[in-house]
Structures are given as C-alpha cells and as structure tokens.
C-alpha cells in the first residue's frame, strides 16, 4: 500500500483530487514563502541597532490595500473554478435509474458489504473488479461513520437516517487501504477495511466462491467447533450460510477464512491470532461488542479449526 495514498490515486475520481491537491499546495507554499521572506527581511533590515534611523511614522497606503485585496481574490477565484470542475470529476452525478453495485452499512465497529447483483455478503474486505465504476449506497446501522479508501474515492459519511452514494473505481489490481474517518465510539481506530481490486476473471472466481456454501466440516476438531458455534451462542450475532445463523449483529462469517484480516484489521487472520481473538477479544479490541465467552483453550482451538475451514 502506498505511503501517501492521497498522492497515489488509482481511480478516475481521485486523479483529479490528487492533481488539485498538489497544485493548491504549490500555490500555498509560494504564498507562505513570500510572507516568510518578507518577515525575515523586515526583522533583519529594520531591527533596532546603534545608529539605526528613527522609525518612520507611516499610517498606510490605500493603493497597497487594494492590491493585496484584489490579488488574493484573483487567486481564490481561480481556485473556485477548479473547485467546481473537480467536484464534477470526483463526485459525478448518479445517472437516473443507475442502481448501486454495493450496499455498504457501517456498524460499530465493522463494515457490512452487500453485493446487490450477486447477493454476496462480505465484511470489512471489499472485492471489486478493476476498470469499472462502482456505485456504493452507504448507510449506518447506528452512529455516524465514514467510508474512506483514499486511493479509490473521496471520503463520505455514513449517516443514520441520511443515505449517501459514493463512486469508487480501481484502475489496476491491488489491495488498497480503507478506514472509518468519523469518530464513532471506542473502537473507531479498528474500523479499518481494505479494497481488493482484481481483474474480471479473478473477481468472478472470488464471487463464485463467496456464493458457494462451505462444505460441512470433516475433521473432528472442526466438527466440534461447528457444534460450539451454536452452543456458545455465536449464531446469535454471526451468520454462516448453511447453518441456522442468520443475524447481522456481527460480521457474516460464511467465508471468514478467505479474509486477510480480523476485527476491522485489529488482528491478522492467522490461526494463532484468531485463537487470541476468541480467547481475549477485550485485549485485541477492547470494548468491542464481541464478548469474552471464557472459552477453554481446547474450545478455542476447535472453533479456530472450524472457522479456518470456511474459505
């Protein structure tokens, strides 16, 4: 992932933003250098020292006032024109009748992603095909969040009661950073997500895998884990296709093993970290809504075996 995502746009929406940002920075920097040079000049040239002339009791010059009013107005007027044109490029109007491709719902503290056309349900890891504009319908299930993948599109709030739309697109394949950019409670820091952009073939394969119901577990510890998933009430919050679990309180876990990260990127999706997450959610993501079920080590291992089979 790029160190300065706002300067590494890979989307038609963010190219314009990045270019304008650089241009504006250069102008602002020039203004700052001008003011700083003037200050340095003044403090050196007009410092009090033996033999320095008396200060000149001048009160001002109207012409100069007009000049340094009109020039900034001119510069800002130029900025205003770009403001309008870049607005159109970064946030184009939605053509009438155009349906969203994704319905994204922000929760405290995870992202629910629903693929409108195919019916795929994902969490925190968004896959998209490259080269296509993706329209997102953005909502919140609770408080205000903000969906921001800086290389792919602008940030925009997910406001309860006020649905928003957002365009993103990826010109080339890769994994791109995303984060919640509006303080939404204790675990705002770990409401991160990623966008995985894939060529059409790979994306279609991913979608097919996501739509498939995972096979029933065959290894003994995985079977035990599947039973624990029900007995320990995990299904009261998490959905897994092919089981009775269908709640959306927590992320859909049907294909949890296909994801790179856990818990809004608070942990990596490895068996060890998944084990730690199940045993000590309060250490990895304190005060998240994931309870500590006081699992024994064996129970946790069995659950890990089950969940890591849900590819």
């Amino acid at each position: 992932m790029d160190q300065f995502p706002v300067f590494a746009p890979i989307s038609p929406y963010t190219h314009a933003l990045s270019a304008l940002l650089i241009a504006v920075f250069l102008v602002l920097l020039a203004i700052l250098l001008l003011e700083t040079s003037l200050l340095v000049y003044m403090i050196i040239r007009y410092r009090d020292r033996p033999g320095a002339p008396e200060a000149r009791q001048i009160f001002g010059w109207n012409t100069l006032e007009v000049i340094w009013t009109l020039i900034p107005i001119g510069i800002l007027t130029v900025f205003a024109f770009f403001m309008i044109s870049v607005d159109r490029e970064a946030d184009p109007l939605v053509p009438p009748g155009r349906k969203p491709d994704l319905e994204v719902i922000g929760h405290q503290w995870w992202w629910e992603i629903n693929y409108v056309a195919s019916g795929v349900v994902a969490a925190n890891e968004v896959h998209i095909p490259i080269g296509k504009p993706i329209l997102i319908d953005l909502r919140s299930a609770d408080v205000i969040h903000d969906f921001w993948a800086p290389q792919l599109g602008r940030e925009i709030d997910a406001v309860p009661g006020h649905p928003n739309t957002l365009w993103i697109e990826a010109e080339k394949p890769g994994t791109y950073m995303g984060e919640c950019a509006e303080f939404c409670g204790v675990e705002h820091a770990w409401m991160r997500f990623r966008v995985v952009a894939q060529d059409q073939v790979a994306f279609d394969a991913w979608q097919r895998a996501q739509l498939a119901t995972p096979p029933s577990p065959s290894a003994p510890d995985a079977i035990a884990g599947a039973k624990l998933f029900t007995d320990k009430t995990c299904i009261n919050c998490h959905a897994i296709a092919g089981t009775v679990g269908n709640q959306t309180v927590g992320p859909d876990l049907t294909h949890i093993a296909s994801r790179a990260m856990l818990a809004g990127e608070a942990a990596r999706n490895t068996p060890d970290e998944l084990f730690r997450w199940l045993k000590q959610p309060d250490v990895i993501k304190p005060q998240s809504h994931m309870p500590d079920f006081k699992l024994t080590d064996d129970e946790a291992h069995e659950l890990v075996a089950y969940l890591e089979g849900l590819k």
Partner: protein, 551 residues
C-alpha cells in the same frame, strides 16, 4: 496644550477593605476579576496540557495499552473542551476585562457585579465538567458531540450531561461578559476617545463581543435540545426515532465556526498592539485592520457547513459554503499584510512579546493557508478527519491564539504586577515553545497525508506512522516543558522581577498612563485624547498623529 481631563465617569464602585482570599472572592473590581480569569485559565491550560500529553504518550507506538480506548476518548474530548472553553476564551476575556477599561480611560466596566458573576459561573462550569471524571467518566463523544453518538443510546453514562451543563454555564458567563464589555466600550469611553480612535485591542474586543452575542445562544439552544433528548427521552437529534443527526451538526457548527473567530479576534487585537509598539511606529492600515475584523465577524456566520463537507450535502450547498469559506480568507490576509507592513521602516526591539508576535505571523499564516486547502471542498474529501486537520487547527489555535496570549502576557504582565518577566528566560521560553510547537504539529500535516485518521487511540504499523508520531510526541513534551517554565517565570517575576514602572515599553495607549499596577480607581488623571496614540501625542505635540495624518 496638555489639558488633563477627569477620569471617565464610571458607576460608583465600593473599593473593598477586605484582605486576603475573601477580597478576591468578593471582588467586583475588573482588575482583580481579570487576574482571576488569568489564573483560572492558566490552571486549565496546564490540565488540558496533561490531557494532551496522555494522548501523545499513548500514540508513541502502535498497539500501546497505556490508557484504555474509553479513557483516551475522554482525554481528547475533554482536552478540546478545556482548551477552548476553559483556557483560550477565559484567558482572552481576562486580558480584555483587565485592559479594556484602562485603555478607554474608565474606572471599571459597566456592570462590575455582572463581571464577577461571569467569572465565577465560568469557573463553576469548569468544575461541573471535571466533576464528571468522578461520576462515571467524562464525556467521550468528542468536543463537538455528534449525535447519535452523544445520545443516551450510545453514551449512556452521565459524562455528556456534565459536559452539556458545564458548557452551558460557561456560555452564560461568557455571554454576560461579552455584553458587559460591549456596553463598557460603547458607554464609558473618556472624552475625545471616538470609535475611530479606539486602540485595536479594544476594537477587536468590541467586535468579538458582538460575535459572542450572536453565536453563544446558538449552542445554548442546541445543548438545551440535546439535554431534553437525553433526560426526557426525546428524539430531536436521534435518527432511529425520526430525529436528524445532521440538524445537530448544523446547529453546533453555526456556533462552532464563529467560536473559532471568537478565539482568535482578541489575539489579533494583542498582535495589533504589540507589533506597532515594538516597531516604534503606528499600525499600518488601521482602518483596514478594523474594517476587516467586522467583515470576518459577518462572514463567520456564513461558513459553518464547511465542517460538514463530508456528510453528503448537495453540490450547491458544498459550493456555497466553499466559496464563502474562501471569501473569509481575504480579510484575514489583509490583516497579515498590514501587520507585516507595520514593521517596514521600523526600529524593531526584539522583546519576548515581539518575538511571539512575529512568530504568530508565521505560524498563523501556515494555519490560515492550510485552511484554504479545506475550503476547496473536493480537497476536504481527502483531508478532513485526518491528522492534517489536527495540524491545521492547532496551527491557528496554538500558533495563533496561544502565541498571541504569550505575547499579551509578556507585554501586559508588567502592568498587572509592577514587575517585568525575565527577558533572558523569556528568550529560552520562546524558543522552546516555538520549536516544541512546530515539532509537535508540522509533522502532523504529513501524518494526515499518509492517511492517519484523527481520534484514534492506536494505529496500524504502517510505514512512517510511528516515526511521525514519535516526533510529534517529543515536540509535545517540549511544549509542555515550555509552559511549565512560563508558569515558574511568573512566580519568579512576582517575587524578584525587575520593577517595571508605569510604561516600561514606551507604549502609547492609556493603560500605560498610570502606575503598574494601577490604583483601584485606575487613573489619577487621564491624559487628553486627540488621536489613537495619546501618549505619543503628549510626547510629540508637534508630530501628533492626527496632525501628521491630516485627520
């Protein structure tokens, strides 16, 4: 012709015969109340600073557990609330309360008892706010308390209620203080001191009073409705039950934006006094500095939704607020240019006050320029809610208001106490502050461009994030040390500082025409006022300002 005029007629004030603590508690003298404001604000500055250092310590490395996320959230919420409502505003009010009556040749403010009430209710509000730490935890929904996060459903503990009541008390005190100062300036000026001759610090205080008069009721209305939501199970700002989360934002920012100008205008006033005095010449473009302040005050009510560019307003609304926000940069720029031009042809004395004033011109400009990058609203969509935003507002608030406050302290402390702060230590304190401040906040621009969001208790180990956080934290500790040094310098000066005399800076406004500190009735005799610099005119009758300017 030096005709001495009787001191301006003021309401009869009974000078207190009491001694000690009771004298301070019962005082209705504007000078004592001013000192109370300064002491209280300084105490809250230190407390708010500790909160900041907790934040910066927790962020030294990714994955630290120095404080819990809930505690961290309380820290940044209360840090912001404290610095704004309990430090910057009362500190500037303290300067105005002490200095404005002196600058206009008056004996006291128009309503001395109201003045006392303003201070004590503000302090009471601060105590209520901090009591929340003992009552289940302070508010942790951020200093602007967006709904529905700040509603009962998501903030079930009473911290937000204490926050609401605390701010309401502070708001009432501030409003009363604003009315008091406005009436004082309009009604109690000494003979000859027309509006066009007002010292710019007085002018800024007057304009600022109007800003407070129109802006504070807006947050009081919003707070009242939030309290009704929380206490009476109403849903004005609760979208789950028909209310509007965005209505809160509109209401809050319609106050919140004028609020930031409330925090900077008096600092503009201080700079407008300090730079001319230490350049040894009058302010350049007085009328333009004054008029641009009025323009800023009006415009500040038209820009509020630039805090909401990312919520999904219409293109038209974004454009309107973007254009308005850029417009407000023009009068601000005019001031910067006039202050800079004031130094032209001068004979500059680099006292510590002047050093803070000059560096204000540098750091506030950086903050103002980064503000323009936000006004261009599509850019806001890549910058807002990151550390770039945190850098921006600290450059204008600390690099602006706080540097102005330091300048004001070094300038007027001799008048308050009769003693000079040590210029030798002052140089050290200045450089520690300047370097510490820039170290803390400049790197945050870059951190924000790297994508780090604000209000996060920890962060992933992305390239460069930790290094930049460490640099920022080092700067913060340096800044903290500089503030502690300043407090020590105050005590040191009070006990063994050099005696200041009436007018140690050879300045020209009326507060320097009396002893340091002034007597209870402020003046024995007020010098005649025939221009903007009465003491200059007195010392140079053949080159009096209005003779020279032909006014």
């Amino acid at each position: 012709m030096s005709q001495m005029v009787e001191a301006g007629v003021a309401p009869a004030v009974v000078t207190s015969e009491r001694e000690g603590l009771l004298k301070w508690v019962a005082s209705v003298d504007h000078k004592e109340i001013g000192i109370l404001y300064l002491i209280s604000a300084m105490a809250f500055f230190l407390i708010g600073g500790v909160e900041a250092l907790v934040i910066r310590t927790q962020l030294l490395a990714p994955g630290l557990h120095i404080v819990s996320p809930e505690t961290f959230d309380q820290m940044f919420t209360i840090h912001g609330t404290t610095m704004i409502f309990l430090f910057v505003m009362p500190m500037l009010t303290g300067f105005s309360t002490y200095i404005v009556p002196l600058m206009i040749g008056a004996r006291d403010v128009a309503f001395p008892r109201l003045n006392a009430m303003s201070f004590w209710i503000q302090l009471f509000g601060g105590i209520i706010l901090y009591f929340s730490f003992l009552a289940g935890g302070a508010a942790s929904a951020g200093w602007f308390a967006y709904t529905p996060l700040s509603e009962k459903a998501y903030s079930s503990l009473p911290g937000v209620d204490f926050w609401i009541v605390g701010i309401a008390c502070i708001g009432i005190g501030t409003l009363a203080g604003a009315i008091n100062l406005a009436v004082t300036i309009l009604c109690l000026r000494v003979e000859g001191l027309t509006i066009r001759r007002l010292p710019l610090f007085v002018w800024m205080t007057l304009v600022n009073s109007f800003l407070m008069i129109f802006a504070l009721p807006l947050i009081n209305a919003a707070l009242a409705m939030l309290l009704i939501d929380r206490f009476f199970n109403a849903h004005v700002f609760d979208p789950a039950n028909g209310g509007s989360a965005l209505l809160w934002q509109h209401y809050f920012w319609s106050f919140g934006h004028p609020e930031v100008y409330i925090m900077i205008l008096p600092a503009f006033g201080i700079i407008s006094e300090v730079i001319p005095v230490f350049s040894r010449k009058p302010i350049y473009g007085y009328e333009f500095v004054a008029a641009s302040s009025v323009a800023i005050a009006f415009l500040s009510f038209t820009v509020w939704a630039h805090h909401m560019f990312a919520v999904g307003m219409s293109h038209v609304a974004n454009l309107a607020f973007g254009v308005a926000s850029m417009t407000i940069a023009v009068p601000t720029g005019i001031k910067i240019f006039n202050w800079t031009a004031t130094m032209y042809g001068g004979r500059i004395r680099f006292t510590t006050a002047m050093m803070f004033a000059v560096s204000f011109l540098f750091t506030f400009t950086i903050g103002g320029l980064s503000g323009i990058s936000f006004a261009i609203f599509p850019l806001d969509w890549q910058l807002t809610d990151t550390y770039y935003l945190v850098a921006h507002f600290h450059y204008v608030l600390v690099g602006g208001s706080v540097f102005g406050i330091f300048a004001g302290f070094y300038y007027w402390f001799p008048k308050f106490s009769g003693r000079l702060l040590s210029e030798r230590l002052g140089k050290w304190q200045f450089w520690l502050t300047f370097i510490g401040f820039n170290l803390t906040f400049f790197v945050q621009h870059i951190l924000g461009l790297a994508g780090m969001p604000r209000r996060v208790f920890t962060y992933p180990d992305l390239p460069g994030w930790q290094v930049m956080n460490v640099i920022s934290s080092i700067g913060a500790f340096m800044l903290g040390f500089a503030v502690v040094l300043f407090v020590w310098m105050i005590f040191d000066a009070l006990s063994k500082g050099e005696i200041a005399g009436d007018n140690p800076w050879e300045a020209w406004t009326l507060e320097w025409a009396t002893t340091s500190p002034p007597p209870p009735e402020n003046f024995d005799r007020v010098p005649p006022v025939h221009g903007r610099r009465p003491l200059w005119d007195l010392a140079h009758p053949d080159r009096a300002d209005e003779l020279v300017a032909g006014a």
